[in-house]
């Protein structure tokens, strides 16, 4: 474990924690602009977090300790996830502890605790949200795994650092398998982060909400942690997409200059990605919940085709 490695590990976590709300603010701002509204401003998510942390937490009478522990667990899962995804550097001391499969497991762990906490109070919305979240989860999780597999077949490794290192520092070659995987990944990310065709982050209409139904009973610091965790998840997914499909600019081991350069490069990529996401959300409409399995089934098939293409073409 080198000093530079520990430094880049720390930098990654701090950058993720600080920038994740900014990414949400950026997307919301662009969405407002695209819909001819003036928008709440880039810093609105920070103000929201600060406000929520200051408020007292109101917890339902019958809530068990699981309900109060869940926000911290979900938050820690997301912090760990952003620590192991090689966004700025591939020289991360924590990365060997969890590979691509463990990363999917980490997201699943967060989802399970989130759903259990939503069922804890025992209101109709919570349980309905939990059921829908798990429905999306069990469709998206294998698809995400297959996307990661099609990327990991190229360097024959499931270690995220090795994958990104191979993809970023190779001669420019086009992998058809990654094209399929890329499309699948975008679809999965939309579903997993409760974005528009699957869920609407702006809605509080009872019958359509999924993510909002899960966190309906939360308030104060618990809600703040969950909101922060949600933005960290979006950030982690964006970084994962960037790391897999546009990995240029990620620092290698023993390259402090690259590490300094990696931050503005990442910011640029995320800024463009955010605008595209806002554009996609504005251009499409939310689908019925029972169309979601078809949507995610398509993503699953595309990811499997990606793996097949790799094996068939050997590339």
């Amino acid at each position: 474990m080198s000093v530079l490695g520990s430094l880049s590990q720390l930098l990654e976590i701090v950058v993720a924690l600080l920038l994740a709300p900014l990414l949400v603010g950026w997307i919301n701002q662009w969405r407002a602009w695209l819909q001819n509204k003036s928008g709440p401003g880039l810093l609105q998510p920070y103000r929201l977090l600060h406000k929520l942390f200051n408020k007292e937490s109101v917890v339902a009478e019958q809530a068990s300790p699981l309900f109060r522990a869940a926000p911290y667990i979900v938050f820690s899962c997301m912090v760990l996830a952003s620590a192991i995804i090689p966004t700025l550097s591939t020289d991360l001391p924590l990365a060997p502890a969890a590979d691509a499969i463990a990363l999917v497991g980490l997201f699943a762990l967060a989802r399970v605790f989130m759903s259990l906490a939503a069922m804890d109070v025992g209101t109709a919305f919570g349980t309905m949200g939990a059921r829908r979240e798990m429905l999306i989860g069990f469709l998206a999780e294998p698809a995400l795994l297959m996307v990661l597999f099609s990327a990991s077949l190229i360097p024959k490794s499931t270690s995220l650092a090795t994958i990104v290192e191979t993809l970023a520092h190779r001669e420019l070659a086009i992998y058809p398998s990654l094209a399929f995987a890329g499309v699948a990944f975008v679809m999965i990310s939309l579903a997993e982060n409760a974005r528009v065709p699957v869920d609407n982050p702006a809605t509080h209409l009872e019958l359509t909400m999924i993510h909002e139904a899960l966190i309906l009973e939360y308030s104060g610091r618990h809600l703040a942690l969950l909101e922060w965790a949600a933005s960290l998840k979006l950030f982690a997914y964006s970084c994962l997409g960037v790391a897999l499909f546009l990995p240029w600019g990620v620092a290698e081991a023993h390259a402090p200059l690259e590490l300094v350069l990696a931050v503005p490069v990442l910011l640029l990529k995320l800024a463009i990605g955010g605008v595209l996401l806002a554009l996609m959300e504005t251009a499409s409409a939310k689908m019925r919940i029972f169309r979601v399995p078809e949507f995610l089934g398509t993503a699953f098939l595309l990811a499997v085709i990606g793996v097949l293409v790799h094996i068939l073409l050997g590339a």
Binding site: F53, N54, E56, S57, V58, V59, A60, E61, Q62, S64, Y72, I73, F75, S76, V79, L80, L94, P96, A97, A98, D99, I101, A102, G105, A108, L109, V112, S115, L116, M119, D120, G122, T123, A124, T127, A130, R131, R132, M134, G137, F138, P142, L145, M146, F149, L153, K156, S157, T158, S159, T162, E217, G220, L225, F290, P293, V304, V307, L308, I311
Partner: protein, 674 residues
């Protein structure tokens, strides 16, 4: 067996036999106090648990020793029992001992006065069951194996029908007995093929035979049929969701957690030890059957409304995963890719161990719930985490392990299994290489669906509000029940956090079966699990858990320091509708509804939907199993017709029977005279 009366000179095998004798003695002591529940529960079951711990210890030690053999002068004259304790047997003995220790401790607090079999008799059956499982694993000839296999089937049959006054329990027991014996015929015939007309049924002789590929395949298919029936592999699974829930909970735990593993043991023993070589299509067949069972099991588990049936279907799923891993090991082994075979085999054995712990834990957890509430139906439970916190939190450990979530035991085996799929490209057959992504995708889907199922299981039982009023009177679990559950939960956590140490144990078994192991590779990298190479894949559960714990603690502390820790209790948000009741929560049926819709072709569904004009609208949906209607009912029909036809022989007149005897005699004479 030299130095019989000098424990210092005892070999491991002697100690295991001492364990068997100890269990039989404990069982017989139960007979002395047939109806004295206090004596049976508080003295005999804990004693059985202590003996189980001894078995686990001896088995652990034996895995590092050379194989030991013994001959017991039991049974028929000239046909003694041959016993052998090798690493494969040692591993399964370890699983049996470690799991049953927790289950026995739980059983000490579980059995109550009630209907059915008296506690003393139950104690005898229970310990005979444990002893016979131990002996099955030790047996080194077909005769001893079959006797013990049958003892195991019969003792568990009597345990299943412990509450024999209920008609459906008798029915479940009958079905179990039937399938167990159909399977036993397959195993018996398999041994018949393996001895290759030498007339010597010891396993040592079978190892020495060189069967042709055809007869090898016949033996393999018979073994797959016999052991598949015991393991609940599709399409021989129908007895499992009937019999496992019918038994008392500690027995369900033993059956699902331990007995199913003897089927895995038998399959491994026959295919990798007794048969001379493996053919590639065996691997494909086992892989396909395993995947079909895994998917079938998990989809059916997701829609169950009875908590024990849900767990039984989940056992089918997990046995399917184990079989899929074994299939992969067979495939690699047939193509002589030894390191890959070792990886897949390690995944299979790891899953055997972790399934033993988490499924036993979940079953005894349902037992505690059943006792506290008297309910098995998910629709009438809810909110129990507030009344029985110990049971709830310990069950949560099993739930997370069963859902295959890091950092617990279930995840490690799934991780190893997926790793072995990833390294499959490289098989000499391009067709098989094409199959790999499909198979890996199915494994991933099964893992994700089991997460869905487990959230339903835990959420509906323990979370939310109690769906019935009397649930508020649910008592907490007793001390023995907590000890048993705590032991099993500890096992799940240990299997999750110490994969390196566990795989070094499994290494001895894979060395025996596929001639190589992961032990050396894994030991080289300390606390990090590295099956092949650090650049290829690594997983560090301890670092993973520490990372989670550290960020949990930091977040908690920072929120308190920078802001505050104020909290107010209030009524939950009722959306402006003040008449909400606990019945308005999502039910188990509701939770299964998306699965019913997405996987509709899997089910045979009968729906009764209310019309708008009904006075008393009723909604009813009955979900059946296609296999029952496509396979079992036609076979039962055929058997019935055949027996009716043969029944015509039965005339009831002595003269006719004398004629039969005469004709038989003439026929035999003709055959003998030639």
């Amino acid at each position: 067996m030299n130095g019989l009366f000098d424990p210092a000179r005892w070999i491991h095998l002697d100690w295991v036999l001492l364990v068997v004798i100890g269990w039989l003695l404990v069982g017989l002591l139960g007979l002395l106090a047939l109806r004295n529940l206090g004596w049976v529960a508080k003295a005999l079951f804990p004693a059985g648990g202590a003996i189980a711990v001894l078995l686990a210890g001896v088995a652990l030690a034996s895995m590092f020793a050379t194989p030991q053999v013994a001959v017991l002068p039991f049974g028929l004259p000239g046909l003694p029992f041959h016993l052998r304790l090798d690493p494969l047997a040692g591993f399964f003995l370890l699983v049996i001992g470690a799991t049953s220790a927790g289950v026995s401790a739980f059983a000490a607090g579980y059995f109550r006065k009630g209907e059915g079999t008296p506690p003393g008799l139950l104690c005898l059956e229970y310990h005979v069951f444990l002893a016979s499982m131990t002996m099955v694993v030790l047996a080194d000839d077909a005769y001893a194996f079959m006797v013990m296999w049958e003892t195991m089937a019969l003792s568990s049959f009597f345990l299943v029908i412990a509450n024999h006054r209920l008609a459906e329990i008798r029915q479940a027991g009958y079905l179990y007995l039937l399938v167990a014996h159909v399977g036993a015929i397959g195993i018996l015939l398999c041994f018949g093929v393996l001895q290759a007309n030498t007339g010597d049924y010891t396993f040592a002789n079978m190892r020495a035979q060189h069967l042709s590929p055809f007869w090898s395949s016949v033996a393999f298919l018979l073994a797959l049929f016999g052991f598949g029936a015991k393991a609940g592999i599709v399409p021989l699974h129908v007895w499992l969701p009937e019999a496992h829930p019918a038994a008392p909970s500690p027995v369900s735990a033993l059956m699902s957690g331990v007995m199913l593993k003897t089927a895995v043991y038998g399959l491994l023993r026959v295919t990798f030890d007794l048969l001379p070589a493996q053919l590639w299509w065996w691997g494909v067949l086992v892989l396909a059957l395993g995947l079909a069972s895994a998917l079938f099991g998990v989809v059916f588990a997701a829609i169950q409304v009875d908590m024990k049936r849900l767990l039984a279907y989940s056992s089918i799923e997990n046995m399917g995963l184990v079989f899929a891993a074994i299939g992969l090991a067979l495939l690699f082994s047939a193509y002589d890719m030894k390191p890959m075979a070792a990886l897949a085999m390690t995944a299979a054995l790891y899953h055997v161990a972790s399934h033993a712990f988490f499924k036993s834990l979940l079953f005894v957890g349902t037992g505690a719930v059943l006792h506290a509430t008297g309910q098995r139906s998910l629709g009438k439970l809810g909110g129990l985490i507030r009344y029985m916190p110990w049971v709830a939190w310990l069950t949560l450990v099993g739930t997370l392990a069963s859902a295959g979530l890091p950092p617990l035991g279930g995840f490690v085996s799934e991780w190893l299994l997926l790793q072995s799929f990833l390294f499959t490209p490289g098989l000499p057959s391009s067709f098989l290489n094409m199959l790999v992504p499909v198979v890996a995708a199915l494994i991933a889907l099964v893992a994700a669906l089991s997460g869905y199922t487990m959230v339903k299981f835990f959420g509906v039982i323990f979370l939310g509000q109690p769906r019935e009023n009397h649930l508020a009177q649910a008592q907490r679990a007793g001390a023995w029940e907590r000890v048993g559950m705590g032991w099993l939960a500890l096992g799940c956590v240990a299997l999750g956090l110490l994969p390196v140490q566990v795989i070094q144990l499994i290494d001895a078994v894979t060395r025996q079966l596929v001639a190589t192991g992961l032990g050396a590779t894994v030991a080289a990298s300390g606390w990090l699990l590295v099956p092949v190479d650090i650049d290829r894949a690594s997983y560090g559960p301890v670092i993973f858990l520490l990372g989670l714990a550290a960020s949990f603690a930091l977040a908690f502390a920072l929120v308190r320091v920078l802001y505050h820790g104020r909290l107010r209790r209030a009524a939950p948000w009722d959306c402006g509708y003040p008449w909400q009741t606990a019945r308005m929560q999502d039910t188990a049926e509701g939770f299964g509804q998306p699965i019913r819709q997405i996987f509709e072709p899997f089910f045979r569904m009968q729906r009764e939907l209310p019309s708008p004009f009904d006075r008393e609208p009723r909604y009813r949906v009955v979900v059946g199993d296609h296999f029952w209607h496509w396979l079992y009912l036609p076979v039962a029909d055929l058997v019935e017709r055949l027996s009716r036809w043969i029944g015509r022989l039965q005339q009831g007149r002595v003269a006719v029977y004398l004629l039969y005897s005469f004709l038989t005699l003439v026929g035999v004479l003709m055959l003998v005279k030639r």
